[in-house]
């Protein structure tokens, strides 16, 4: 499986409009000036896949993720990660969509392939598809050193989870 594209609305710096970030198979480079919104792509992935306990999104509360500029705020922030399945997910659709929205009141809604789902269902689905619970496949800025700083016990845990 791989992420084919990411659809966002009102999320962090992406403004109050529907926007599609095309990704796809292989080695995708993300480039641009400081502050342009590159790392926010990683935050969108962490947000939608519910991995925020494992990773920081540089937000003190969920509602910080809702786009705001010059006094105006988007009504909500939503992110949809669209995977090409290729048999990795226990679903028989060619594409698998994982969606999350947070409203101004801080309430989250998850959807799998368009139907509302509970967080634990997303968690289980990702685990089946081989996305690790501690999300070591997502290295945010400065995060690479965690493999050096982790204790020998944490490292053993990481390896045990692979077994």
């Amino acid at each position: 499986a791989y992420i084919d594209r990411i659809n966002v609305f009102g999320f962090k710096s992406y403004g109050s409009r529907k926007l599609t970030i095309p990704l796809g198979e292989g080695f995708i480079g993300i480039v641009g000036p400081n502050g342009s919104g590159k790392s926010n792509i990683g935050d969108a992935i962490v947000f939608a896949l519910g991995l925020a306990t494992a990773k920081s999104m540089r937000a003190l509360k969920l509602t910080d993720l809702i786009f705001s500029s010059k006094g105006k705020t988007a009504p909500y922030a939503e992110v949809e990660i669209v995977f090409k399945n290729n048999g990795a997910f226990p679903l028989n659709t060619e594409e698998v969509s994982i969606y999350r929205r947070v409203d101004l009141n801080g309430k989250s809604t998850y959807k799998i392939n368009g139907r509302t789902a509970k967080y634990y269902e997303v968690e289980e689905l990702l685990s089946e598809a081989g996305i690790p619970r501690q999300a070591y496949n997502i290295i945010t800025q400065g995060d690479i050193f965690r493999f050096i700083k982790m204790t020998p016990y944490e490292r053993r845990e990481l390896l045990s989870e692979l077994a």
Partner: protein, 161 residues
């Protein structure tokens, strides 16, 4: 249960040694069990000996050496059991150009088995990508567009992938 753990440990360790050798030809990195007799009672140490030096505590290594060791470990795990995608945000921040190129080559190779989404501020890694996404900001709102790898300034001709 211990048997399953040891299988992972040995395979990842084998990968780590080979990958680190590729990155630092006369250096070595490896995993070590704290408790050889009952592995699950102890932890797993990550040991590194960069080229020409002694095995030293990880903390006294330089920023670049730590980055290489950490990436080698991550790739070793990935080679054993790839996640469907990997996201790397500025992992080349503390790498010199030669090491960034080595990491780029490794990422190119491993991106045949898993999707690699790589954020970078420098051309070196970007030149190894199959496809490039450009991000810019206008009045605080991010704009997304696709770029050709050949559009990167700096010299694409000297990087044969």
């Amino acid at each position: 249960k211990e048997k399953a753990f040891l299988e992972v440990f040995n395979k990842v360790n084998k990968n780590l040694k080979a990958i680190f050798k590729e990155l630092s030809p006369s250096g070595k990195a490896y995993l070590e069990l704290e408790n050889e007799k009952t592995p699950l009672d102890g932890g797993v140490f990550l040991k590194a000996r960069p080229r020409g030096k002694d095995v030293k505590r990880l903390e006294i290594m330089s920023g670049g050496e730590k980055t290489l060791t950490a990436l080698a470990f991550l790739f070793a795990v990935q080679q054993y059991k790839p996640a469907p995608f990997y996201y790397f945000d500025e992992v080349d921040a503390h790498l010199d150009d030669a090491n960034a190129r080595k990491i780029g080559q490794l990422m190119k190779k491993f991106s045949k088995e898993a999707q690699f989404i790589v954020v970078t501020l420098r051309d070196t890694l970007a030149h190894f990508s199959d496809r490039l996404i450009g991000v810019s900001s206008r009045e605080g709102i991010s704009q997304i567009y696709t770029l050709e790898v050949s559009e990167l300034l700096g010299d694409t001709s000297e990087i044969k992938v």
